[in-house]
């Protein structure tokens, strides 16, 4: 029952990819 509602939750599943890319980008910029 509760699970059916969870499907409507907005979760940023890809967040780790963006966090990782952002970290690498700024690590590169900062040499």
């Amino acid at each position: 029952m509760a699970a059916n509602f969870l499907v409507h939750e907005k979760i940023w599943f890809e967040k780790f990819k963006y966090d990782d890319a952002e970290k690498r980008y700024y690590e590169q910029i900062n040499g």
Partner: protein
């Protein structure tokens, strides 16, 4: 004057639990509308009168008896809390916010990635699930280290930090953190069980059964 009002949500919403447990501590009078005819998720929250009060149309949403309306679960929990729960000093208030932000930014994504397929509400993706498991291990290790010398996350008593992180970990502990997986994180397990056994948590969560066998994805 203690807060009084109505919380709109769908049933068993872990995000709504944060405000409801906080209200158990603060004495705020929060009436829950979560089932038809009072509230029909997917319909009521799309009506013009609901959107006028809560333009984002998301739940949980709170409407005070004085007409004050607020959305975003962390803001609602903060509003129905007491100063003790929010953190009385500047430092404690900032630490509470630190753990609340940490829960949303670092726990929600991997917890959902791992648990949703086991509930059959999302396609299973082996690589994403394995990555999520490693992230959950990283988070539990961090919490375990922090709780090695502490009973609660901030200060000596329960705050919104504990309420928020416990509610964010709920599905993990119910669905996939089987004894062998959670065994290395004894301080977190002790803290989690201490919290959920508090009468104020029990009043909202009921008797919590910890995961005995890691749920696999439900094809």
């Amino acid at each position: 004057m203690a807060v009084a009002g109505t919380l709109y949500t769908y049933p068993e919403n872990w995000r709504a639990f944060k405000a409801l447990i906080a209200a158990q501590y603060s004495g705020a009078a929060v009436k829950v509308l979560s089932t038809p005819p009072q509230f029909h998720f997917g319909q009521t929250n799309k009506t013009p009168e609901f959107l006028k009060k809560f333009p984002v149309g998301k739940v949980p949403a709170f409407e005070g008896e004085d007409g004050f309306c607020i959305f975003e679960s962390n803001a609602i929990a903060h509003y129905v809390s007491s100063d003790e729960l929010r953190g009385k000093s500047k430092e404690a208030a900032a630490q509470v916010l630190q753990w609340v932000s940490f829960a949303d930014s670092d726990i929600v994504p991997p917890a959902s990635t791992w648990v949703f397929p086991t509930l059959g509400i999302m396609q299973y993706n082996k690589q994403a699930t394995e990555y999520a498991k490693e992230e959950v291990k990283r988070i539990l290790t961090l919490l375990d280290c922090h709780l090695k010398t502490r009973t609660f996350l901030v200060g000596e008593r329960i705050t919104l930090a504990d309420i928020t992180v416990v509610c964010t970990l709920l599905w993990l502990y119910k669905q996939v953190l089987e004894p062998s997986f959670r065994q290395p994180y004894g301080n977190v397990n002790r803290w989690f069980v201490t919290c959920v056994n508090q009468p104020q948590f029990k009043a909202i969560l009921g008797e919590l059964k910890l995961c005995e066998k890691m749920a696999q994805f439900d094809a």
